[in-house]
Symmetry: C2
Subunit: 363 residues, 2 copies
C-alpha cells in the first residue's frame, strides 16, 4: 500500500489516532498474531486476547505510574455511564457527594448524580460562562467523594493541579479529555475514568482506575454491569468486553511508550497549545480565546472570531485546507481546536499558518 | 495483499465475521469514504457517520421487517447490561416480571432482574439440565412483561416458535445468539436485544429493538445511559456511540442482504446444523448431543464424547486441523460447535469429516 494522505484532524472526539496505530491495525486485521483470525474474531478468553488486555493494563500502569493498590478496568458506556456508576457505587447510603462544576461535562455529571441521591456543588463557574476555574471551593468535610472534571472538552478549561478534598474525602475525576496527555500523581485520586476516544483510542471503551478501598463501597444488589467491585474482580471480563477498542487502546499505549512516556507527550502537547494560544494572543483581538489565560486547556482551545459569518468561513476554508474538525461545539459556537496526543506539532503549525492567512484576508 | 489463510472459526462469540466484511474494513481503515481519516477518527455527528448508522438501521429494518412503530438502538454494555435495563425501564412500579429460564443466559437475566424487583420464573428447565424447552408455562396475566432467551448459547436449545404471553403482556427476548439467523415476526415482540458479537458484528455493541409504547414506561430519573426513552430519542447518539463496532455491524448487514436476506441465511444455517446433528446421530452414541432433538439449536451444538480425555483430544486435534473454538463452555464442558451466519457450509462439512475421522481412530 502507498503512504496514505492524512488530513490534520482537530476533532474533539472521536479524534485522530496515531498513523502507526492504524497501520498496525490494518496490517493485522485479517490475521492477528498468526491466529488466521481477526482480533475481532478471537475469544475474549483466549490466550491471545488475554495478552492484549494484560499488556494494555501493564503499559497503562507503567505510563501513568498506577500504584499496585489500584484496579484498572476497561468498560463500556463511555464517561456518560460513569456519571451514574460513580454515585451508584461510591455514594454511601444517606451521604452527599460534592461536585466541582466548571463546564458542560462536569455539569452533566452533577445532574446525573443528582438524579440518584444527594449532591452538592462545591463550586460552579457557570455564571462566569465556564471561562475559569473556581476561585475557591465550598467543601463538605463529610462528602462521600469530591468529583471534578480535569479538562472541559467544550469550554477548554483545565486543572493542572488537582483540587484538594478535605481529609478522608476521596477525589474522583472525569479525565476523558486529558487522560494520558501528561504525567499525573495517581495516588492523589481515589478513582478516575476516561472515555478512550480522545487521547487513548477509539470510541467504545472507557478506562476506570479505582483504589481498592473504594471498591468496598459498592452496595449489594447492584446490577453486575454497574458494579465496580464485580467488574474489577473479573478483570474486565465479566462479559464479552469491547475487544477491538481495547486492542486499539493497547496499540496507542505502546505508541506513547515509544515516544518516551508521558513527560515527552506533555512537552509536545504544551508546544502545540502554546503555538495556537500565541496566535490568538498576537491577533490583536481578531481571535478571542474562551478561557481565561490561567485556566487554558492544552487539549481543547475554543475561540471566537469577530462574527459568526467569519467563524463559518474559517471552519469551511480550514476544511478545504485539510484542517478538519474545527467547528466549535453546537452549545458554544465558534471554533475549537482539539490538540490531543495524536495531533502532531506539524498540525498545530499548519493551523497557526492558516489562522494568520485567514486574518490577513479577513481582519 | 494475497488471499489470506482462514481457519474455520467455531467460536461462540466473539465469532467469525464474513471474510468480505473484514476485507472491506481493512481496505478503508485509513481512509473512510475519501475522508482521509479512519472511521474511528471521524466525528459521530459527521454526515459520514450519520450515513453509517442510518444505513445500518435501514438495512436491519429491511432484513428483519421491523415495523415503523419500533425504535432501533445501538448501545453499549452487551446483553448483560440489558439484563438490568429491561427491568429498570419496563417493570412498572410494584409490578412483577415473568422469566422463562431455559439455560445459563436466561438464568442470569432472571437473577439480575431479581436484584431490582419482583420476578417470577414462568418455567425453569434447570432440573432437566437445560436440555429441553419447557413443556408448559405458568404465566402471570398481570406480569409487566414475559422474558425469554430465544437461543441458549451454552446449552444449545432454541425456540423456533415464540412463547405466547397472556393478552396485554409484552414479550421481551434476548436474541443475542440467533439474531438475524432466520426470519422472525418482529410484531410478536415488544422488545428484543442482541449482543452483536455472534451473528451481527464484533463485541462492543448491542442492538435493541423496542416498540414505541414500551418506551413510555421508562420511569423518571433513570440515568440517561440506562434510559431507553432518552436513548431512542437521541438516535443512539446521546453520547459517543461505539462507532467502529456499529460500522462493522453495518457491513455484516449489507453482506446478509447480498446473500438474499434472512430466508436464504436460514437455509444455509439449517443445512450446516443438519450436517452436524446427523453426524452426532449416526455416531452410535460416540457423540451425544446435549439438547433433546425437539429443542436443538441451529446456532450452537454442544455435545459430549465418551470421556473428558477424548473431548480434550478432540478439541486439540481439531485446532491443529484449523477447526477453532470447539471447546465447550467451562460451565458445561465437552465440545460446542457454534455455526453462526458467517460459518460457511464448507466449515460444517470439514467439521463433520473431522468428527468421523476422530471417531474412527478413537471409537
Amino acid at each position: 500500500m502507498s503512504t496514505p494522505k492524512r488530513v490534520f484532524n482537530f476533532n474533539p472526539g472521536p479524534a485522530a489516532l496515531p498513523l502507526e496505530v492504524l497501520e498496525t491495525a490494518q496490517a493485522e486485521l485479517l490475521d492477528f498474531k498468526g491466529t488466521d483470525m481477526s482480533v475481532m474474531e478471537i475469544s475474549h478468553r483466549s490466550k491471545e486476547f488475554e495478552a492484549v488486555i494484560q499488556t494494555a493494563e501493564a503499559d497503562l500502569r507503567e505510563l501513568l505510574g498506577i500504584p499496585a493498590n489500584y484496579k484498572v478496568m476497561f468498560l463500556q458506556g463511555g464517561a456518560s455511564l460513569q456519571f451514574a456508576m460513580v454515585p451508584m457505587n461510591l455514594r454511601l447510603a444517606g451521604a452527599s457527594a460534592d461536585y466541582i462544576v466548571t463546564g458542560s461535562w462536569s455539569r452533566t455529571a452533577f445532574k446525573e448524580a443528582t438524579k440518584l441521591g444527594t449532591t452538592r456543588a462545591a463550586a460552579n463557574t457557570e455564571k462566569e460562562s465556564f471561562k475559569c476555574l473556581p476561585a475557591s471551593l465550598d467543601l463538605d468535610p463529610n462528602a462521600a467523594y469530591l468529583h471534578f472534571t480535569s479538562n472541559e472538552t467544550i469550554h477548554g478549561v483545565e486543572f493542572f493541579t488537582e483540587p484538594t478534598p478535605p481529609a478522608g474525602v476521596p477525589l474522583v475525576c472525569d479525565m476523558s479529555s486529558d487522560f494520558i496527555s501528561r504525567p499525573i500523581d495517581v495516588s492523589r485520586y481515589a478513582l478516575m475514568y476516561a472515555g478512550a476516544q480522545k487521547n487513548a483510542g477509539p470510541a467504545g471503551v472507557v478506562v476506570v482506575i479505582a483504589r481498592d478501598d473504594l471498591l468496598e463501597r459498592t452496595p449489594a444488589n447492584l446490577p453486575v454491569m454497574l458494579d465496580y467491585k464485580a467488574l474489577a474482580a473479573s478483570g474486565s471480563l465479566h462479559n464479552t468486553p469491547p475487544a477491538f477498542a481495547i486492542y486499539i487502546v493497547g496499540l496507542v499505549l505502546q505508541w506513547a511508550k515509544k515516544l518516551g512516556g508521558l513527560a515527552e507527550v506533555e512537552k509536545v502537547n504544551r508546544r502545540k497549545a502554546e503555538l495556537v494560544y500565541k496566535a490568538i494572543d498576537e491577533s490583536g483581538g481578531f481571535y478571542r480565546g474562551h478561557a481565561v489565560p490561567e485556566a487554558r486547556s492544552i487539549m481543547n482551545i475554543p475561540f471566537r472570531l469577530p462574527s459568526e459569518e467569519l467563524e463559518e468561513a474559517f471552519a469551511r476554508e480550514a476544511k478545504s485546507n485539510a484542517l478538519i474538525g474545527l467547528k466549535g461545539h453546537r452549545s458554544v459556537g465558534g471554533i475549537r481546536a482539539s490538540l490531543y496526543n495524536a495531533m502532531t506539532a506539524a498540525g498545530a503549525e499548519e493551523l497557526v499558518k492558516f489562522m494568520k492567512e485567514f486574518q490577513k484576508k479577513n481582519g
